[in-house]
Amino acid sequence: MSPVPHVLRQLAIDWRLVLMGAVLVVTALVFNVLSGGLFLSPENLYNIAQQTAVVGIVATVVVLVIVARHIDLSVGSVMGFVGVLIATLMYTAGWHWVEASLAGLAVAIGVSLYQGALTAMLGVPSFVVTLGGLMSFRGAAFLVADGKTQPVSDVFFQRLGGGFDGAIGVQASWALAAALVVLFGLKNWLRRRAKASYGVPNPPVWLDALVAAVPALIVVGFVATMNAYQIPTKDAPQGVPIPVLIWGGVAVALSFIVHRTRFGRYVFAIGGNPEAAALVGIPVRRVTLMLFALMGVLITIAAVVSIARLNAGTNSLGTGMELFVIAAAVIGGTALAGGSGSILGSVLGALIMQSIDSGLLLLDISIGLRYVIIGQVLIAAVVFDVVYRRVTGDAA
């Protein structure tokens, strides 16, 4: 075992996540120096947070798909298809955005269940199914509106994508931060009480408090930064952007599913050992189908945020997104062999990807070189994963 003191081991801290956080911080600091202080300006951080949301939302569920030993290459195309569909229903058919979004949700779940059924019921590799989907649904995105761009004009809907009025303002942001800090404390206290009631040993109070203080500080720091950004033509600062709020809500919901529900545990069990999962009576097919259905739900959310952000649905929406999403999951510590990964990791992974992309953009580096660098970052992450697992003895 590693020479970590006993008390620290008791905390079950995911050191890999801590390391990812450190990588993000170092990345930001380096770009900040190189860009002469531009990178860490509230405006840039606000934009990065907002731009990462769509990829981040989809990455949370792609983590689970990869954990279950599957892959989804069709996420960008399906998001494009569903996005154009929702925009078309609003613009051309005149539907209310809620109805249009629900219709989009139904279609997305249908598409996901179709791909999921081929994978779960017939055993067709998800790589093949979704590779076909990558092409087919890009085509479908074109067919929906015959390739025409569908503008979105509903003011409330537009706010879901961020932008000029797409943030919740200073007071609501602080209230949110306060609520979260209280929640972190409460969660810790409840856990200590539950452990004590079953006679499971608790770490010392000060250590638990210290560990709870870290996310609390991050939240407060984030809100303070978002509250420091003011669009020059407006008379109040922005606060937390709505797409980031949605992303946060999605990440919390998925974390809950992973840690607190049978479904989440079964996804990991299937990824760890599919034969064992079947032998102990886990309904592997049903869990796989549910996972794909969940995928459909999150793709719809991402599609809504995405078209709201662009104020339009276009047939190229989400092109190439699958690469960024999978990269975010992998950089965030999801093993492509299945069985391990975390939602919080995908959040950090998506932020690292977007930070590097934005940082390079700030430094005025050409798009060609940017792609070269980001591709190699992904490979570096996988190399790190392989080495890390070898060192810690966690064979992938």
Binding site: S197, R262, R265, F268, G272, G281, G339
Partner: protein
């Protein structure tokens, strides 16, 4: 004589054109250990997997405590009190010992969420019973030793109060101390009235633990005998040549 705990009657199973299990009948009584012997591919594991609900039965009847039952899934088997310890242990290596113990049968809170703390506390009690030194119940089981992994697999059967236990080569990967632990456990469960099917290649295990033994070859039952009635050579003759020993009475039931 007590009623049989399990009666398998004329069980058949084919994979493609291969008859993996061909017209096998076998019974198991409360507190009895029946060793199931044969070469790899003789059909022992397939027969047991049908009883455990992992494979569907092509034809034949299964009775548990005199009742006709239809076992279609591992869940059906679990409901009948049938627990299995597989040779591969059937553990999810990425999950910890507690999660593995309760895998598929998690304890839930009243809001239908996982009750981790209760599972943790319950699991520690079971592990303690099997191995006093087993403390790292919260690390992924891939980091545990062979013996500790075996403890996790066995604890499933114990925690859920198996009445019928299938052990597929339980000592194959174990050191001497852990093998002795499994032996003690088999005797203890036997005293509690649990019926045990023991698949093994290990002759000392067969003669030390089993009351009866049944030998399979090429999917068919060669014969079933009281362990005390036959010699090791006769058993090997059945396994290798499929030859029934001369002058020994078969014992299809106790």
């Amino acid at each position: 004589m007590s009623a049989p705990l399990v009666e398998l009657r004329h069980i058949r199973k084919s994979f493609g054109g291969v008859r993996a299990v061909d017209d096998v009948s076998l019974s198991l009584h409360p507190g009895e250990v029946v060793a199931l012997l044969g070469h790899n591919g003789a059909g022992k594991s397939t027969l047991m997997k049908m009883l455990a609900g992992a494979y569907p039965i092509d034809s034949g009847e299964v009775r548990v405590q005199g009742q006709d039952v239809h076992i279609r899934s591992p869940i059906d088997a679990q409901r009948l009190g049938i627990e299995s310890i597989y040779q591969t242990l059937a553990l999810a290596d990425n999950l910890d010992a507690v999660a593995n113990l309760f895998l598929g049968r998690e304890l839930l809170t009243r809001w239908n969420t996982l009750d981790d703390h209760r599972m943790d506390a319950e699991a520690r009690k079971v592990f303690e019973r099997l191995n006093k030194n087993f403390r790292n119940v919260r690390t992924p089981v891939r980091r545990l030793s062979g013996g500790q992994r075996q403890v996790v697999a066995i604890s499933r059967a114990i925690y859920f109060n198996a009445r019928i236990l299938i052990m597929d080569e339980p000592t194959a990967a174990l050191g001497p101390e852990e093998t002795a632990m499994v032996g003690r456990l088999v005797r203890q469960l036997k005293d509690e009235g649990v019926g045990i099917f023991l698949i093994t290649h290990d002759m000392p295990d067969v003669f030390a633990l089993s009351d009866r033994l049944a030998v399979m070859k090429n999917g068919r039952l060669v014969g079933a005998y009281r362990t005390a009635d036959v010699t090791e050579d006769e058993v090997l003759g059945m396994i290798i040549a499929g030859k029934q020993p001369e002058g020994k009475a078969q014992a299809h039931s106790r």
